[in-house]
Symmetry: C2
Subunit: 315 residues, 2 copies
């Protein structure tokens, strides 16, 4: 069964008392620079510093509602989903173990441990994924995937939903296009579903690093294309080998997909940190770098803003 806007609304009802309503930031300097009103949804002040808390909380709270909350949860993550799972597990009293791909951001590893989760840093992403499989078989652990899961998609989609609802409530114009970075595709899928239910004319654009463009390639080819090894992009949240098959149903329906070079991502991040005056993780800057490219080719003939989703602040 395909997901709909109603599932995002349900997820929002489920998690909204547990999460922070994150702010929409803006900068006149950036607007002037681009000759375009740009709004930024900033998940850096979300629980655990990223939008991932929305997905993990939705998944575990739904399991609890159904009286199926497991005793022991495992996952594999480069860090943001790790912290989110640790946080949700701690809140609901569930044991959590996270398998990290190599070279995790120290802050993400430390925070995951501080939230009470056990951690293990693997020698490769493939090894991390294999170890999770072993743990599921041997210890009957419950696997909470980082993105390829309907409840994760719906929880993550509440970020866009919340932002568009805020614009409606405060009588501001809805955006002409929304930009979000693609890791495994959960956030983008949820964003697509949240947006389509509110205004189906809003374009939803996928964004990815050039050197980690598996989702871009998959979007163009109409089938999932996978990397053999994790691409060493600065945007650690986009180092996934391939998008999820559940997510790909929605990713295929996106209006556009763009990529940015590492240098473009770095420049975009500097601009954001300078003018929004907040911490922005490189994964977030991918969306802004791609928006810049999109704007060069698309001249929106209206006064609607562009909307960039910023995933988190964990650097």
């Amino acid at each position: 069964m395909s997901l709909t806007h109603a599932h995002i609304l349900q997820a929002h009802q489920r998690i909204k008392s547990y999460i922070n309503q994150t702010p929409i930031l803006k900068s006149d300097v950036i607007d002037n620079l681009f000759g375009q009103k740009i709004l930024f949804k900033y998940e850096g002040v979300q629980k655990t510093g990223s939008f991932k808390a929305r997905g993990a909380l939705n998944a575990l709270l739904k399991l609890k509602e159904e009286d199926k909350l497991p005793d022991y949860i495992v996952t594999v993550s480069s860090g943001n989903h790790a912290q989110a799972t640790a946080y949700a597990g701690q809140m609901l009293g569930v044991r959590v173990k996270v398998f990290f791909p190599p070279n995790p951001i120290p802050k993400k590893l430390n925070n995951t441990q501080a939230l009470g989760a056990e951690t293990f840093v693997a020698e490769s992403r493939k090894q991390a994924e294999a170890m999770v499989r072993d743990e599921i078989e041997q210890s009957k652990a419950f696997f909470l995937p980082p993105f390829n899961h309907k409840d994760i998609i719906c929880g993550q989609g509440t970020s866009c939903l919340e932002a568009l609802q805020e614009l409606q409530t405060t009588k501001q114009k809805l955006p002409s296009a929304i930009f979000a970075t693609c890791g495994g595709g959960g956030w983008l899928s949820g964003t697509f579903l949240a947006s389509r239910g509110i205004d189906s004319t809003i374009k939803v654009v996928g964004c990815e690093p050039d050197i980690a463009n598996d989702a871009y390639q998959s979007y163009k080819a109409g089938k999932i294309i996978s990397f053999e090894n994790a691409p060493q992009t600065i945007a650690d949240g986009a180092r996934t080998l391939k998008v999820g098959d559940i997510n790909f149903e929605y990713l295929q329906q996106l209006d556009d997909f763009l990529t940015a070079t590492e240098q473009e991502i770095i420049s975009a991040r500097i601009l954001l940190e300078e003018h929004l005056a907040v911490d922005v993780e490189p994964t977030s800057a991918v969306a802004f770098a791609c928006m810049k490219k999109w704007l060069e080719e698309n001249k929106p003939h209206n006064d609607k803003p562009l909307f960039v989703l910023l995933s988190g602040s964990n650097v």
Copy 2:
């Protein structure tokens, strides 16, 4: 003429398209620790990283409305008002020079310069204030005071106004008490005015470091008491020598005033950064440390939250 709630509403109309609506953060861990629902208004993601942008923008935009915008503005500030004035000046095309008391936080000094302002670090707060006076006389510079000014008070009060309006719009309970740190008293005065106009039963509590308790002493004595030298509290925003006489009219009407030791401020800050997962400047932690003390003596017999205003993120 005394200020009223209507002045805060006008200031909000004036500045709201220029500022960020900052988020209300919460933490279940903190709530459980205190046995009390606590909400935090987080100005760390405001323009220039603190609530001060609200006051400076309101003052300059009002001058512009009245066709009185000066060519050259000077001020004295330990950093947050410096950045705010530089930002507002840059936006409106006005030359700004800031005189800093000694040992400013490097980030605040750098940011002020990056926003195009000229800067000078004095050898004492008194010297900084004297140099500003000289500059006003010699160069006919316009002085934008950091707190003792009606338009600064009204702009700064929009932070509390915005938060209480958000609670009303989203049908959440209004707080039983609001806590804010006192530097020169502008934020507290604005908070008092914003709060009284929405619900006059909400207690507004002033908060100050023990070793910088001039406002506390003034509140108790019913007259302004001044420090000779800037107290070396970790809360740099509270190193003011005395509160403003304009502000004191409103500070005298506060429901309570508490102080916290340096150790209590440090502990409060650690707790906030750990559980809200955001940067919190020490000046912000003063309000939370005092809330903790207030809660030990006051047991609110209702299910209303407590509300703590967090001034900024510049550390």
